[in-house]
């Protein structure tokens, strides 16, 4: 267990996360206005979203389906009877004066997420619930000295609020939780997980306690919009709480904000009194009743999820756990790998895909869908290694050339004469030449200085322009020097 060192001894951090994940619907949860990001202000607002009197909400069936899919993907209970409630508060970007949400009876109940931590450790974090709710509008405070500008395009957009149990103990675990949740949502296609555009936002509940003690008072840092900031906010909040407690103070249960530019959390000015939400069932909406047969049918449409895919990669391709985790982190990466691995050595393919290939994508800042080297082209290169046409070292050179020119591996090898020398006569000659040039080294080696073997290999490879087959060079060198 990872504890934080304080003046008075160890402290344990307790973290629970609430993630707001925007559903990938075309239109809003309760209106037919577009949910697309980035439009002209207030151009995607219906009179329902603007809270005009007499307007009635009508639920979007696709959003219900995505909530169910997500629940199933989180191995959670789907509740076939759920209720929409009004959460009442006043704010300029909430035109109705309430948010339609789900309170006592959410659409999805308890589930779990398995975190893949470093060094092959995994940890299960409980999901408390998932419920459907509508988003509020967007306030902009920096456009005018005394006015706030409000854009209601986001008002009414469908969100899934996914609440975790307070099961995490370090900021790394919180980061791993968000990455895994995002991966699952993207596999399911229910949310695009794009934190920059705000389609995934996180509220962090943090408290500290002495190991084994009862839970401490928590604070909630709202609307943090990147995994890195979530981790930083948790670390800052942990330190702040420990400092207060060690100086004899006490933690105030409050809502805080993450200040990205200063790297600190600070208390929101609004009083706690404002958080008396007075939930009650929304009289405009009947309970949401699901047909169990429909839920079962949705279950048959789920893709292979990352945990299952990882297990299959380890079992069928004999990959290490780490490599399997890297490959399944994105569905497109896993698909690319499987395409290359078909009919080839899965371990060799994994080394190339997770190593040079992902490295090149990263360096070029490109997505796998936009890769400069196709799965077939990479497969072609790997075939040349497998049949000993080129060595692994030369292959790296060929790969660089493939990236630069887009040519096929075989063509590059022919053009540049990179074909591996497997002609023992040529290798013999090169070895003889090296031995003749270095008689002193030869006698030192024969006198017991084994380390010099590497020197001879290096010289021979140099003499053959790196094209000699390394296994053959080793073998012949041993005989000749021996």
């Amino acid at each position: 267990m990872a504890y934080i060192q304080g003046e008075t001894g160890d402290w344990e951090v307790v973290i629970g996360l609430e993630v707001h994940a925007q559903i990938t619907s075309k239109s809003k949860l309760f209106s037919g206005a577009s949910a697309e990001y980035g439009a002209e202000p207030n151009s995607q607002v219906s009179l329902v979203d603007a809270g005009f009197p007499g307007m009635l909400p009508v639920i979007n069936e696709y959003c219900i389906e995505q909530a169910v899919r997500t629940g199933l993907g989180l191995r959670a209970e789907v509740n076939c009877f759920s209720v929409f409630d009004r959460k009442n508060y006043f704010y300029a970007d909430l035109p109705c004066g309430y948010q339609i949400s789900q309170y006592l009876q959410p659409i999805v109940g308890k589930g779990e997420i398995i975190l893949d931590l470093a060094e092959g450790v995994s940890r299960t974090v409980g999901i408390t619930r998932l419920h459907l709710e509508m988003d509020a509008g967007k306030s902009m405070h920096d456009q005018h000295p005394s006015k706030t500008y409000v854009d209601l395009n986001r008002s009414g957009v469908a969100l899934m609020e996914i609440v975790s149990e307070p099961d995490m103990r370090t900021s790394e675990e919180a980061g791993a939780y968000l990455r895994k949740l995002r991966t699952i949502l993207r596999y399911l296609g229910s949310c695009d997980g794009n934190m920059e555009e705000g389609s995934m936002r996180c509220d962090c509940n943090v408290s500290v306690r002495k190991p084994g003690a009862a839970l401490g008072t928590r604070t909630e840092t709202k609307n943090v919009n990147s995994i890195r900031f979530v981790m930083q906010a948790i670390e800052y909040e942990t330190r702040r709480q420990i400092d207060i407690l060690e100086e004899g103070g006490s933690i105030v249960q409050e809502t805080r904000l993450w200040d990205t530019s200063k790297g600190v959390t600070r208390a929101m000015r609004s009083k706690e009194e404002a958080h008396d939400y007075r939930y009650f069932p929304d009289p405009d909406l009947l309970p949401l009743i699901l047909d169990p047969a429909w839920v079962a049918q949705i279950k048959t449409t789920l893709p292979e999820l990352p945990d299952d895919k990882k297990q299959r990669f380890i079992r069928d391709y004999k990959l290490s756990r780490y490599d399997a985790e890297v490959l399944v982190a994105e569905q497109a990466k896993a698909d690319f790998y499987e395409k290359v691995a078909r009919g080839r050595d899965p371990k060799l393919v994994s080394n190339w895909v997770t190593g040079d290939f992902f490295g090149a994508l990263n360096k070029a800042g490109r997505d796998i869908d936009d890769s400069p080297v196709s799965a077939d082209a990479l497969g072609g290169l790997i075939d040349l290694i497998a049949d000993n046409t080129i060595s692994g070292r030369i292959a790296k050179e060929v790969f660089e050339e493939m990236l630069a020119s887009g040519k096929a591996a075989a063509a590059i090898v022919e053009e540049k004469g990179l074909r591996q020398v497997t002609d023992t006569g040529a290798i013999d000659a090169a070895i003889e030449a090296v031995m003749t040039k270095n008689p002193d080294k030869v006698s030192e080696y024969r006198g017991g200085k084994d380390k010099l073997f590497g020197f001879f290999v290096g010289q021979v490879m140099k003499a053959t322009g790196g094209k000699a087959n390394p296994a053959l060079v080793n073998e012949i060198l041993k005989t000749k020097l021996g």
């Binding site: 209106s31 037919g32 206005a33 995607q44 639920i59 456009q143 005394s146 006015k147 409000v150 309970p287």
Partner: protein, 95 residues
Amino acid sequence: MSLDKTTVAKIAYLARIEVPEADREHMAGELSKILEFVEQLGEVDTTGVVPMASVVDTGLRRRSDLVTDGGYVDAVLANAPDRAGSYFAVPKVVE
């Protein structure tokens, strides 16, 4: 259940309705009477009775995920006390 003046003030604040101090005593009496009237329902034994969501025998109506609405900025902003371009402009509220 009867309400006191402090509770009346709190409810008024939550509802953003201004109730002058002088009116609160009277308002507490009015609201208490309403609550007492509703409390008669407590005489009915509702053990095992599921809360009624609606008197009509119908399910929640659903719609398909289609864009069928929006695209009328001026109508949306028509009743706004103040606007700036296509935005609502409201007194600054900063957190």
